[in-house]
Amino acid sequence: MKQRILIVDDEQEFAESLSERLTIRGYEVATSLNGQDALEKVKGYNFDVVILDVLMPGMDGVEVLREIKKIKPLTEVIMLTGNASVESAVEGMKLGAYDYLMKPCDTEELLSKVNKAYERKAEQEERIRAAKVADIMSSPRSVLKE
C-alpha cells in the first residue's frame, strides 16, 4: 500500500513541487496551504505522515500539530522550519512530532524521516491490533459487548 502523505505549507510553490517529487517516488500525496484546511483533510482521511511547516499565517504549525494529535494520535508529523532557531520545532517534538527538518531540506533526509515515521505508525497500529486480538481471545464475549 502507498504511504499517504499530507504536506502543509503556505508557500504553494514549495508544497506543489515537493508533492510532485514524492508522487514520482510512489507516495500518495495531498497538500494544504493553511492549518484549517489541513485539519479538515486529517479528519476526513487517514494520512500516515504529515509534513508540516512551523510558521504559517493564521494557525501556526505548533497549533496544527496539537490538533492533529487530538484528531489522529497515531498520525506522524514531521515539522519543517525556515528559522535557524529550532525552538518551535523542539516544542513540536515535545507535543509528539516525530522529527523536524530545516528548510531547505535534503530530499534523501526527508524521505528517510518520512519512511521511519511511517514504520513507527505501522508498528503502533500493529501493536493496537494485537492487543485487541489478545483481548478477544482472553474474553471472546467481549466482542458481543462492543
Partner: protein, 225 residues
C-alpha cells in the same frame, strides 16, 4: 551602534535590527526551499525520462522560469537586508522616504501575514527626501507599523506617504489606543529619538491613525548611528 545617543537603550535598536534580520532570513530560507524543490523536480523528471518516460519539455521550461523568478525574489530580499545593514553607516544623510517606507513595509510583509494582516502602501510618484538619521528613522516608522499590525482596522493596515512641502508625512492606519493608555507601550528611546530627529507623531481619527511628520531640513541633535 548609537553609543552617544541610544546608550542604555541600544538593546532596543539591536532588537529591531534582529527582528528585521530574522524576517529577511526567513524569507530567504523559503525562497531557497522553493528553488531546492523545483531544481530537484527537474532532476527527477530527467531521471524518469532516462528510464523511458517521455520528457515534458514545456514543464521543464516552466520549472526553469520559476527558479529564475524565485532567484529574483530572493535577490530583492537580500538587497533589502543590504540596505538595512547600511542604514547604520551614516548618522546623518539625505534619506529617500519612498525607499525607506517601501523597505520597512516590504520587510514587514511576512510579519503581517503571520498576524493575518494585509499591508497596503501608497507612495507619491516623486521622491520625498529628508535629512535624517536613516536607522533611527526606520526604527520609529517600524514601531508604529508594528503597533498597527497588532491592532489593525478590519485586518488591514495602510501606510501612506505624502509630500507636504517642507516635510514628509507618513500616515499609518490601525488602532493606537494602547499607546495612549499604557505608559510601557512606547519603548524608552522613542520619545528622545523623535525629538532628536525633529519627528512629530500625532494620533488622529480617534486613535485610528498615527501621523508621522518628518522635516525635510532639520538640525539633528548629537545623534550617531
Amino acid at each position: 551602534m548609537a553609543e552617544t545617543y541610544w546608550g542604555e537603550s541600544a538593546k532596543e535598536g539591536l532588537a529591531f535590527f534582529g527582528k528585521m534580520s530574522a524576517c529577511i532570513s526567513h524569507d530567504i530560507k523559503n525562497y531557497l526551499a522553493i528553488i531546492n524543490e523545483k531544481a530537484g523536480l527537474v532532476g527527477d523528471l530527467l531521471f524518469v525520462a532516462e528510464q523511458g518516460r517521455p520528457l515534458d519539455t514545456e514543464k521543464v521550461k516552466k520549472l526553469v522560469q520559476d527558479i529564475s523568478q524565485q532567484i529574483k525574489r530572493a535577490d530583492h530580499v537580500v538587497r533589502s537586508l543590504n540596505r538595512l545593514a547600511h542604514s547604520v553607516d551614516k548618522s546623518r544623510c539625505v534619506v529617500d522616504l519612498n525607499e525607506t517606507v517601501g523597505l520597512i513595509v516590504s520587510i514587514s510583509q511576512r510579519l503581517a501575514a503571520s498576524k493575518g494582516v494585509r499591508l497596503e502602501m501608497r507612495l507619491p510618484t516623486s521622491a520625498v527626501q529628508v535629512e535624517s538619521n536613516p536607522f533611527s528613522l526606520m526604527y520609529i516608522l517600524f514601531l508604529y507599523l508594528d503597533k498597527a499590525m497588532s491592532a489593525p482596522n478590519d485586518g488591514q493596515v495602510k501606510v501612506i506617504l505624502k509630500d507636504m512641502g517642507d516635510e514628509g508625512q507618513v500616515t499609518i492606519s490601525g488602532s493606537f489606543e494602547a499607546l495612549v493608555h499604557s505608559s510601557e507601550a512606547v519603548p524608552a528611546p522613542i520619545p528622545g529619538l523623535q525629538e532628536k530627529l525633529g519627528v512629530t507623531v500625532k494620533l488622529e481619527g480617534n486613535f485610528g491613525e498615527a501621523v508621522i511628520r518628518v522635516p525635510k531640513a532639520f538640525k539633528l541633535k548629537d545623534i550617531q548611528s
